[in-house]
Symmetry: C2
Subunit: 311 residues, 2 copies
Amino acid sequence: MLDVRRLHLLRELDRRGTIAAVAEALTFTASAVSQQLSALEREAGVALLERSGRRVVLTPAGRTLVTHADAVLERLELAVSELAGAREGIGGPLRIGTFPSGGPAIVPATLAELAQRHPALEPMVQEIDSARVSDGLRAGELDVALVHDYDFVPASPDTTVDQVPLLEEPMYLATGGTTDSAPAAGRVARGETLAELLGPWAMSPWITARDGTTGHAMAVRACLAAGFQPRIRHRVNDFRTVLALAAIGQGAGFVPEMATAYAPEDVVLTRLPLFRRSKIAFRAGGGTHPAIAAFVAAARTAVAPRAVPPR
Amino acid sequence: MLDVRRLHLLRELDRRGTIAAVAEALTFTASAVSQQLSALEREAGVALLERSGRRVVLTPAGRTLVTHADAVLERLELAVSELAGAREGIGGPLRIGTFPSGGPAIVPATLAELAQRHPALEPMVQEIDSARVSDGLRAGELDVALVHDYDFVPASPDTTVDQVPLLEEPMYLATGGTTDSAPAAGRVARGETLAELLGPWAMSPWITARDGTTGHAMAVRACLAAGFQPRIRHRVNDFRTVLALAAIGQGAGFVPEMATAYAPEDVVLTRLPLFRRSKIAFRAGGGTHPAIAAFVAAARTAVAPRAVPPR
DNA sequence: ATCGAGCATAAGGTGAGCTTACGCATAAGC
DNA sequence: GCTTATGCGTAAGCTCACCTTATGCTCGAT
């Protein structure tokens, strides 16, 4: 019988790319991982990896074996969830990951709701980039996470992670009355196309999230879709800072609806036909875990009435 | 993560009923199994077994966990099969179980076919009662097995074992010309009902397979369906012996079509609307294993043209 | 050319998991 | 009713699988 712990290592190798990274993620030495993968190859009787430069890559046989590993581990996760359901009461630690802007807006309300319903639960919140969430979930550093994606930035499909929708917010264009190169017209009416709404700000400086984030990618691609390449002047992730900068005429930026509550008086907000979708992610098979189900329910209550209705 | 080896033990406990039986089957001591199951309960955080007299029975949580164990182990079996497919060439030992009457008829022809196609394969044949086949497969003592069932004796469904049909044979009634209480009529025409065909022999002595076999159960139930309780005089499994006894007027018996090739001259054979279905069984998920697929193909060739056409 | 990253192997320590030994409870047998 | 056998659990000890440390090799980058 194939050793499932070793299959787990192979799966992580497929995801993370190097033995060293797998070892680091699972707090082993690289030597231990290398030895176990060698043992797995012996069990399998087929070459699963081959060296490529100073790294290793999976052979076709190795990659198909990873798909089986995914299936096995998902089923084990489901079993764990059902066992947790069989234990009476919901309690213990729950490791929650959240994208940074979820911190002030969604998380506190959710945790308050959760604490009221399940006092024995010990939530542990940790900010984490959406891109690193799936690694964190698989490594067991997280049990559940708030993530989001935007139009123009499709989330990469990942069979090891399940997601349920939580919130769908329109994005707003934040601009100031006295922007360097602002058009003459002030507020623009709703309902027009993205190109029409963003076009007037084509020559304006822009405020986006930092490079490498999905927010940054969204901003650039939205502007490209509107027909121009944005000149990015400021790169900040915090939406309150974005709003403050826009208010003093330092450029145009995108903010989600949630952040508009913090908008200064003199910022001009234009609703865009562009959406940010917040979701709750957890390990595939973990949806039936009572603590995770409780978190989902609490989050939905906390963001109500703006929540996406449960399927 | 739940330990899959322990889940395997739990599954075997569910199937075999006692820890001692599991230990015996997997060549452990009962103590080792007991300790591992205790550890599994600790992992699970829920009671999985409880004592009942001097045995243990699974709790509801334990039973649902077994269904997950089945799924996980099936997927692992599938993974092993695909790995074997990735290895070039088919070779190594193949442990084959067969019901006793399959020995002379099907097995040699299949093995000859198999040896011709895959000389590196080392088939190992072992007679085994159909009732014990699924235990043998799960314990790894067998890789593939010839089994059969009869009308009136439904095979118990078992999700851990997959089966493919091989052969469907009519059963024949074997009688002698001078049976103690034979009816006047000799050979009976085909196509009549079971009651009409068996009825004349209601008062005859009968020759059936030994108690506790499916062949015995089939005989009794067929006679009951025909409206009488058979008086069983001889209990032998070997169909050639059944035919010889019937020929000398010692009673009526059932034989499958395959056995009719060995019928003595003076035995009377009557085709019955009653069938024996031979199948090939293997561990769930093992159907894609190249050696098993090769065995199935060879067996089909060997029994052609009487084989059930592949689906 | 030098250095660092990444992987593999050798050698050694340690804990998980096995066996043996024993005790207890229950069911069966006389 | 007492004895016996069966089945399970715990205690103690041993062994080997698996991890760490140490070392070397290869490849790519500066």
